[in-house]
């Protein structure tokens, strides 16, 4: 029960007036970021990260994680009212959310979405509170070989579980590793891959990559689609909220199932987007109103929103306890930890109790305040969406440029941001996933260090990754994840054979 005491201590940290203030600012900014095209959770946080350098790490992580919750909430607003998913994980919410809005039930849809998001997040935070300290305690025994095995597992899951072609995922990931390797080698202190360019001495910063790939790339995609906003009016009043809340408990089974799917997909780095689709698909099959899905069924809003929020939140579990982020946004938060001088990983739970439990407590409170803020301020956020793209686009470009500049006070980074933006646009159009690239840039140095230290210990023998039961089973899990598509195909064929 030590965790409960720690959690209460965390609440006393969060309830300090300054931290409450940054929490509310974070949520409002986050919803804004979630609503605006071209600004998402990952690059919104990347842009704002430099502004937190002067804060204490605890206040900084509270603000940034609240931006993340806000962005998760914000995605639902655009999906339901405008049929435009502000974030990839809210695509599934458009299927039933927007038809509901067209039938004049926007208020119900929004209330259902926000409440489900809250339920999903709450479930995930409880899982984090209970499980993360245990995982961290376990992971304290990890040596370099086990650490590398965990990275291996994370990256293999991307290749095997992702919906993109595996070799494209591999290319994207390896480009990330290569970019991470540029500059000073952290083990030998030698310069590498700079080819004499002084600009490359410090290497590629993942924040620049995130702002370019997700921010600029997204604007270019939006320009190509020639998007115009045609939205439904948003009206939420207490009566609608109350009525919807009375109706929601009926879908407890869908909720619970979506929570579990979300947590599972969030912890393994599959992420919120597949979680929301999978949850929607299963709810459609399981529900007795399944055939009405897509025509404005409230259950079709509950399922994806619960799962997306549960996944988005639980993505922080491996980030906190193992130092392996479950999503690009968690990767940016992890990068923040490094910048604030904290070492992500299991030791965090021992050495930085106030930070960890402050963050976990802020997840409870942040999501609760988030729910209240979005329920009361929907019309305002919807009004922002009506600002035409020809105003929004250049302003977002300017914001991205400022964000890229402030990372290292370097104008070269701003140029690099645009290069990443164009690359991101082309790669995205060609089905290359961008998340593995970002994760590899963030984790590249640590993965490489763990790999080389393991080899040093074993005098160069790869057998070190199979030298004991623990590292062997993590590596085996990694291989299983890597070849999962082949294995599941094989199993399906085996099962089909007797029938023939």
């Amino acid at each position: 029960m030590e965790e409960i005491a720690n959690l209460f201590h965390g609440f006393t940290v969060v309830l300090q007036p300054f931290n409450m203030l940054v929490m509310v600012i974070g949520i409002v900014l986050g919803v804004l970021i979630g609503v605006l095209p071209g600004l998402g959770g990952a690059n919104g946080i990347a842009i704002l990260l430099p502004l937190t350098f002067s804060m204490s790490p605890t206040s900084a992580i509270i603000m940034l994680s609240c931006i993340y919750w806000g962005a998760l909430f914000g995605g639902a607003i655009t999906s339901i009212l405008f049929n435009i998913p502000g974030e990839p994980w809210s695509v599934a919410t458009t299927f039933d959310g927007h038809p509901m809005a067209q039938q004049g039930k926007a208020g119900e849809a929004l209330t259902a979405a926000f409440t489900s998001s809250f339920v999903g997040a709450l479930f995930a935070v409880i899982v984090i509170t209970l499980v993360a300290p245990l995982v961290a305690k376990f992971a304290l025994q990890f040596g370099p070989a086990e650490k590398f095995a965990v990275f291996f597992l994370a990256f293999c899951s991307f290749i095997g579980m992702g919906k993109e072609p595996p070799f494209k995922t591999l290319v994207s990931m390896m480009i990330g590793f290569a970019l991470a390797a540029v500059g000073l080698d952290s083990v030998t202190g030698q310069l590498r891959l700079t080819f004499g360019f002084t600009e490359l001495l410090t290497g590629f910063d993942f924040l620049i990559a995130v702002i370019g790939l997700f921010g600029i790339g997204e604007i270019l995609l939006t320009m190509e689609e020639g998007l115009s906003f045609k939205g439904k009016a948003a009206g939420i009043n207490p009566k609608v909220v109350w009525q919807t809340w009375k109706e929601l408990p009926r879908y407890w089974m869908t909720s619970l199932r979506s929570c579990i799917i979300g947590c599972w997909m969030g912890i393994s780095p599959a992420g919120a987007t597949p979680a929301s689709f999978m949850s929607y698909g299963i709810a459609k099959r399981a529900s007795k109103n399944g055939k009405n899905f897509g025509k404005g069924e409230i259950e079709g809003v509950v399922a994806p929103e619960t799962a997306a929020h549960a996944a988005g939140t639980s993505a922080l579990l491996p980030m906190l306890s193992l130092g392996v982020p479950g999503s690009p946004t968690a990767a940016v938060l992890l990068g923040g930890l490094l910048i604030w001088g904290l070492q992500p990983g299991p030791l965090l739970f021992v050495e930085q109790k106030e930070f960890v439990w402050g963050l976990i407590a802020s997840m409870y409170l942040g999501n609760f305040f988030g729910l209240i803020i979005v329920l009361t301020m929907v019309p305002l956020f919807a009004a922002i969406l009506r600002i035409p793209f020809s105003i929004i686009a250049p302003v977002i470009l300017v914001v991205c440029a400022i964000g890229a500049y402030t990372v290292h006070n370097s104008t070269f980074d701003v140029v690099l941001m645009l290069v990443f933006g164009v690359i991101g646009y082309v790669l995205k159009k060609c089905d290359y996933p961008l998340a593995p690239m970002v994760l590899a840039i963030v984790l590249g140095d640590k993965a490489e260090e763990a790999f080389r230290q393991s080899l040093l210990g074993s005098q160069g023998s790869l057998g070190v990754f199979w030298s004991n039961g623990l590292v062997g089973s993590i590596m085996a899990l990694g291989l299983l994840a890597l070849f999962w598509p082949l294995i599941s195909d094989g199993l399906a064929k085996l099962r089909a054979r007797p029938a023939v």
Binding site: P50, R192, G226, T411
Partner: protein, 167 residues
């Protein structure tokens, strides 16, 4: 936007772009391998040398690029477009001004360039009146100035205009 509808059905082929991307990633992989060889990929006194890990990363990139190239040639329908010319024109209408913007920032400062960028977009793509355009184009950088230089004390790149104004 009328240009877009006229250009329907014409544009670069998706297959060619995919092949181009695969070749580009392979070249990138080769550059990484060459750079790794320069710093040494063998086992030194300090253990695996600095180029050891990136060398194999580069190798993986080349192998996967080859698979992607092969799949692009065999699996993508020949008629599929990457994007229509009109769409690409819209994309370039963002890329080119932004390129000028980022390249000019070191010389003219971020505030002046931001004003010009926003004004250009609003006037050219949005066709707003001068009053609205100027209000947003001057208001946003002004707000940025107050927030960064005064509130957060983060200096942003400035140019001759700011020097003249004595900021």
């Amino acid at each position: 936007m009328s240009e877009v509808s006229q250009a329907t059905g014409r544009g670069p082929k998706h297959r060619q772009v995919e092949i181009g991307v695969a070749i580009a990633t392979a070249v990138f992989g080769a550059i990484v391998m060459i750079g790794s060889l320069q710093v040494g990929i063998t086992w030194g006194i300090e253990g695996p040398r600095a180029g050891f890990f990136p060398f194999y990363v580069g190798l993986f990139i080349i192998i996967s690029s080859a698979v992607n190239l092969f799949q692009a040639r065999s699996e993508i329908p020949i008629g599929r477009l990457f994007a229509e010319w009109g769409q690409l024109r819209s994309v370039m209408s963002v890329v080119i001004p932004t390129a000028v913007y980022v390249l000019a920032i070191p010389y003219l400062g971020i505030y002046l360039m931001s004003t010009l960028l926003i004004a250009l977009f609003m006037k050219w793509l949005g066709r707003y009146s001068w009053v609205v355009t100027l209000a947003v184009a001057i208001g946003v950088p002004l707000f940025t100035y107050m927030m960064f230089e005064k509130w957060f004390l983060v200096p942003l790149p400035k140019g001759p205009i700011e020097d003249l104004m004595g900021l």
